[in-house]
């Protein structure tokens, strides 16, 4: 019984001499930095805005490079020039018109690609034989330069709205299928078993297990798909169009107006980022259980 007393007094002395300090915490944080799945506290402004900050740094470096004259200005614009020209074009309404034109094509096409891509991906991941049967086509379509399909698309659906929608669709759908399929295949089999035991129908298992369980992969598929679809719509507009941001870029490029080319690219990129972040927002809402 003696030994306990010693220990307790030792504990006392430790305890009274060192008041709880914040050091303990920062030590633990050093450690937590390595590896995912660790909880983040209010590490404050820096961490939360690190993305925005790096963007600012990169833009500053770019501007400086431009001003230093190291790069021939007929090939490179600068952030400030882009903003200036972009502002003018926004004022005149040119940019908005083209943007709306592109967005129209994009949303219909990508919406279809997302819905169908997720659906087919889930199916292919779920029913292995189906996945195996369609796998060669998936690979084939992922590897086919969509450009060479343009004439066929034109022949089938003409050059109107629907042709652009189709291009956007074809561009975006395959990465979505692939990622969704991978997500489903890597589900924890225990969980699908649970669903079965609770009498879930195939569709219910699909909705309650496959969909939430593969959500992270689906979102990453959507991100790749968004990129591809954007490339698709821009490329289509560059080759066959009467409007849209792609048309704007092609036109500006043929006129060697590099500022306008960059404005176009930036608009495209911002568009892509806006759409991506809304997808991410969706993910965060749906994946509440994953803290971070």
């Amino acid at each position: 019984m003696n030994s306990i007393k010693i220990r307790e007094s030792a504990s006392e002395s430790y305890g009274s001499m060192k008041p709880p300090d914040r050091n303990t915490r920062s030590e633990a944080q050093d450690n937590r930095k390595v590896g995912p799945g660790k909880r983040k506290r209010s590490d404050g402004f820096l961490l939360n805005h690190i993305g925005a900050m790096t963007v600012v740094v990169v833009l500053a470096v770019w501007e400086m490079l431009y001003r230093s004259g190291m790069i021939n200005p007929i090939f490179l614009s600068s952030p400030i020039r882009i903003i200036k020209v972009g502002y003018q074009l926004t004022q005149s309404g040119v940019l908005l018109d083209n943007l709306l034109f592109t967005l129209g094509n994009f949303f219909v096409g990508f919406g279809l690609a997302a819905v169908l891509g997720i659906f087919v991906g889930l199916l292919m991941g779920w029913y292995r034989p189906l996945g195996k049967a369609l796998d060669p086509f998936l690979t084939a379509m992922l590897g086919t330069p969509r450009i060479v399909l343009l004439p066929l698309i034109t022949l089938w659906v003409g050059v109107g709205f629907s042709s652009k929608v189709l291009v956007v669709f074809i561009a975006g759908v395959f990465p979505i299928i692939l990622n969704t399929m991978t997500g489903v295949r890597n589900l924890d089999p225990n969980l699908t078993r649970v669903a079965g035991c609770f009498g879930a129908s195939a569709i219910q298992t699909f909705i309650t297990v496959a969909l939430p369980g593969s959500l992270p992969q689906i979102v990453s598929g959507l991100r790749v798909g968004i990129g591809q679809s954007l490339v698709g719509v821009i490329a289509a507009e560059m080759f066959v169009s009467t409007g849209g941001i792609g048309y704007f870029v092609a036109q500006s490029s043929a006129n060697f107006n590099i500022d306008r080319v960059f404005v176009g690219i930036i608009v495209i990129v911002m568009m892509g980022m806006a759409i991506t972040s809304s997808v991410k927002l969706l993910e965060t809402r749906l994946l509440k259980h994953r803290m971070d």
């Binding site: 649970v194 939430p212 369980g213």
Partner: protein, 268 residues
């Protein structure tokens, strides 16, 4: 004497394929009959095929040989008539405790208000009413297991399959849960098959204890537990109880010895 068995396993064998093309026999010639409303425990050495057998009854485990009859019909896949508590953690990580508990009810189309009320009731039963909005990764091991049990209870299946459901609980919570389980069993007149590695628990709960041999698992002996019900906790200190415990213990130990012999042959 024409009692229709609730469950009947007829010479069931289960093998798993191995990488090298060979097979490993987990369960071999397993025969067991469980009558309507019985509480049966299965005990046996680690790795003897208890989970495998339970999986087969649940309909998620492919049977290589033999048949399993439920209410006289051969089992075809899974079904809502059987509730399962898995040994491994199997809560949906993207659902809160409450959402996990009501999962089966949701599938069955029970209206939201109703199922939430029922879910809360069950969470209270397992002592987790304060944790309904917690996700599984925010619960301790024992808490997760209790949610697991609540989830299976929610659908009120006529046959409950429980695979070491109380294994991660402290002794007191465990006794409490045992009492609750018996109460529910009595009320609902369910049939329960319960896998445990705690012989005392098996004797305390069951009408019968099925003792399995080591792998390839088969029934070594079925011990009927003739203890009166309801059983107060004190019964665990009664001489009859201790006698049952000792008997089963003896069965498993001698089984172990035999297993060791077999092992030597396998590893040759």
């Amino acid at each position: 004497m024409t009692v229709l068995a609730k469950l009947h396993t007829d010479n069931v064998s289960i093998t798993y394929p191995l990488k090298n093309g060979e097979e490993i026999t987990a369960v071999s010639g397993f025969n067991m009959t469980v009558n309507e409303g019985e509480f049966v425990c299965i005990v046996g050495p680690s790795g003897c095929g208890k989970s495998t057998m339970l999986g087969a009854i649940a309909g998620i485990q492919h049977v290589s040989n033999g048949k399993i009859y439920l209410n006289g019909q051969p089992i075809k896949g899974t079904g809502r008539d059987r509730g399962v508590v898995f040994q491994q953690a199997s809560l949906f990580p993207w659902r809160t405790s409450l959402e996990n508990v009501v999962y089966g009810l949701e599938l069955a189309g029970v209206p939201k208000n109703e199922r939430m009320a029922k879910g809360r009731e069950l969470l209270k039963l397992v002592g987790l009413e304060a944790f309904e909005h917690h996700y599984p990764n925010q619960l301790s091991g024992g808490m997760q297991q209790r949610v697991n049990v609540a989830r299976a209870l929610a659908i009120e299946p006529s046959l409950m399959l429980l695979d070491e459901p109380l294994g991660a609980l402290d002794a007191q919570t465990r006794e409490f849960m045992q009492l609750e389980l018996l109460r529910i069993w009595k009320e609902t007149k369910q049939t329960i098959i319960f896998v445990t590695h705690d012989i005392g628990e098996a004797v305390y709960l069951s009408d019968r204890v099925v003792v399995m041999t080591a792998r390839p698992g088969t029934v070594c002996e079925t011990v009927d537990i003739h203890l009166p019900r309801p059983r107060p906790l004190e019964i665990k200190r009664s001489p009859e109880f201790l006698e049952y415990e000792k008997h089963i213990w003896g069965l498993i130990v001698s089984e172990k010895e035999r297993e060791k012999q077999r092992m030597k042959i396998i590893t040759l």
